[in-house]
C-alpha cells in the first residue's frame, strides 16, 4: 500500500489547469498545422492560419488559447493499492481548480445553479470521473471543456437493427447539425454501447485520445476512418465557411451493451482539444 497525501494534489491540479489552457499538446498542435497546410479553400486556409498564429500567440504571451477555458473535467484513476490520506480528494481537486483559474487568469465560467445562474467566481465545482484501477499510482487527467462545442453534443438511443450504418449516420448527422457553431475543425468523441450515461462518458473520454491514434478494434478503427472521410467531404470546412477540414479526428470508444439497445453519444470538441495527464 502506498500513501498519497491529498494536500499534495492541490498544486499539481493548479498547474494542470494553467498548462492545459495555454499550451495544446504537441500531437494536437501537429495535427492542426498539418491540416492548415493541406486545406485547399482560400478562406479555409486563412482561418486555419489564424488558428496556428493563435496557438503561437497564446504560448508566447502565456494567455489562454480560447476565452472559453471551460468547465474543468477530470478523469481520475486511483490505483487500488493507494491510500489517500488527508482532506477529501474531491475537495483537493476543487481547491486546485480554484487556484489554477485564479492564478492562470482563466475565465470563471461556472454558475452554481442551472436556473438561478449565479457565477461561483472560481470555476468550481469541477466535474470528476473516478475509476479504481490496478496498481499503486494516482493518474489525473484534466480536459477543460468549452461549451460552444459541448452544446452541439448528442445522445442517440439507437436500435440493434440500426447497425453500423445507423452508427455512421448518427455521428455524421451530429457533426452536420453542429456546423459552424462548434468551431470547426472539430474533434469528434464517440461513445458506443454501455447504457445512457456511460455512452456519454465514453464519448468524452474518447476526446482525450492521442491525436493520430485509432481504436485497437479493427472494425471500429475502420469506422473511425470512414466517418472522418464522410465528414470531411461535407465541405463545411474551417469556421463553417467551406473547405475540406471539418473534423480532425473521429475517436470511438466502445463498451458492452444490452441485447435491446445500442446507445451512441457524440461529444463535439473544437480544435482546442485540451488535456493534460499527470501520474503521481
Amino acid at each position: 500500500m502506498r500513501i498519497i497525501k491529498t494536500e499534495s494534489i492541490i498544486d499539481v491540479v493548479k498547474d494542470m489547469c494553467i498548462k492545459a489552457n495555454i499550451h495544446l499538446s504537441q500531437d494536437m498542435e501537429d495535427t492542426i498545422r498539418k491540416a492548415a497546410a493541406e486545406e485547399d479553400s482560400k478562406l479555409g486556409r486563412q482561418i486555419m492560419n489564424q488558428l496556428c498564429d493563435n496557438l503561437d500567440i497564446a504560448a508566447r504571451d502565456e494567455i489562454a488559447i480560447c476565452q472559453d477555458t471551460g468547465m474543468a473535467v477530470f478523469f481520475v484513476n486511483i490505483g487500488q493499492d493507494v491510500h489517500l490520506e488527508g482532506m477529501n480528494i474531491t475537495d483537493a481537486i476543487n481547491e486546485g481548480v480554484r487556484r489554477g483559474y485564479k492564478e492562470g487568469y482563466l475565465r470563471k465560467s461556472v454558475v452554481s445553479d442551472p436556473l438561478l445562474r449565479v457565477n461561483t467566481n472560481d470555476n468550481t465545482p469541477a466535474i470528476i470521473h473516478y475509476d479504481i484501477v490496478p496498481g499503486d499510482k494516482l493518474e489525473i487527467t484534466i480536459a477543460p471543456k468549452g461549451f460552444g462545442s459541448e452544446n452541439m453534443s448528442r445522445v442517440f438511443m439507437l436500435k440493434p437493427a440500426d447497425g453500423e450504418e445507423g452508427v455512421k449516420e448518427a455521428i455524421v448527422k451530429a457533426v452536420m447539425e453542429a456546423g459552424p457553431n462548434a468551431c470547426p475543425p472539430v474533434f469528434v468523441g464517440v461513445g458506443l454501447g454501455g447504457d445512457f450515461e456511460l455512452s456519454a462518458e465514453l464519448a468524452k473520454k474518447a476526446l482525450t485520445r492521442k491525436a493520430g491514434e485509432h481504436s485497437k478494434l479493427p472494425h471500429i478503427a475502420r469506422i473511425e476512418e470512414e466517418v472522418l472521410d464522410t465528414i470531411n467531404k461535407s465541405g463545411i470546412g474551417p469556421g463553417g465557411l467551406g473547405g475540406k477540414t471539418t473534423a480532425l479526428a473521429v475517436n470511438i470508444e466502445t463498451y458492452a451493451t444490452h441485447i435491446a439497445g445500442m446507445p451512441l453519444a457524440v461529444n463535439m470538441c473544437c480544435h482546442v482539444n485540451r488535456h493534460v495527464t499527470v501520474v503521481i
Partner: protein, 198 residues
C-alpha cells in the same frame, strides 16, 4: 472583398457590406453575451418604452449604452493580466442570443460579431432593420485579444466575464456572414466549395 470599416457605422455603411466581405473593424464596439442580453431585454420590456419624446433607451437610463448605430461583440473574455488590456477574447456562439436579438435590433443596433448560425427570426430582423452579422474566428481568442486596444467595464460588473465592456479595436478581423439583404455565407460558402470540387 477586403474592406476596412469604422465602428460605430450608419445604415449606408451597412448597405455597402456584402456576405463574404473580409473586414477589418476599427473604432468602438461593446461586449455583451447571454446574461447581459437577458438583462437589457428584460429592462427594455419592463420599461414600457416609447420614443414619443425623442429620447433613446440609453438616455432614459433603461440600458447602459446607446444601441443606435453600434456594434455588439458576443464576448466574455478571460481576465487581463497585469499590463494587458484584456485576456483571451474570441467570439461565443451567437445562436444563444437569438431570443433577444430582434428586440435589440429594433432599437437601433447595426452590427453583431459572433460565430455560428442565426435563426430565421434574426435573419428576418437583420433584413427588416438593416443590420449586419459578422463572424470572427472561433477559438482564436489569443490572436483577437491583440486587436483590442482599450477595454472598460461600463455596466453589469456583477456579471464578471459577462459584464458589458466598451472596447476600442484596431483592425479586428471578421467576415460578413449575413448581410442586410439576407444573404447567408454559411449556406453559400459551403455550397460554393462543394461545387468547386466536383
Amino acid at each position: 472583398m477586403e474592406k476596412h470599416i469604422n465602428a460605430p457605422f450608419d445604415k449606408k455603411q451597412v448597405k455597402d457590406l456584402k456576405a463574404g466581405d473580409y473586414v477589418y473593424i476599427s473604432g468602438t464596439i461593446y461586449s455583451a453575451r447571454d446574461a447581459a442580453h437577458k438583462r437589457m431585454y428584460d429592462a427594455i420590456l419592463a420599461s414600457e418604452y416609447s420614443d414619443a419624446d425623442g429620447k433613446t433607451l440609453y438616455e432614459k437610463g433603461v440600458i447602459p449604452f446607446d444601441l443606435t448605430n453600434n456594434v455588439i461583440y458576443y464576448l466574455g473574455p478571460t481576465p487581463a493580466k497585469e499590463g494587458q488590456v484584456i485576456g483571451s477574447a474570441g467570439p461565443t456562439t451567437s445562436t444563444r442570443m437569438d431570443k433577444y436579438t430582434p428586440l435589440i435590433l429594433s432599437k437601433g443596433l447595426n452590427g453583431m460579431i459572433g460565430k455560428g448560425k442565426r435563426g430565421q427570426a434574426v435573419i428576418d430582423s437583420i433584413i427588416k432593420d438593416q443590420a449586419v452579422y459578422f463572424a470572427a474566428v472561433g477559438g482564436a481568442g489569443a490572436l483577437l485579444s491583440g486587436c483590442i486596444k482599450e477595454s472598460e467595464v461600463i455596466a453589469y460588473d456583477d456579471l464578471g466575464a459577462e459584464a458589458i465592456r466598451k472596447m476600442r479595436v484596431e483592425n479586428f478581423p471578421a467576415i460578413v456572414v449575413i448581410d442586410c439583404q439576407g444573404n447567408n455565407l454559411y449556406e453559400t460558402a459551403v455550397e460554393d466549395y462543394r461545387n468547386s470540387r466536383t
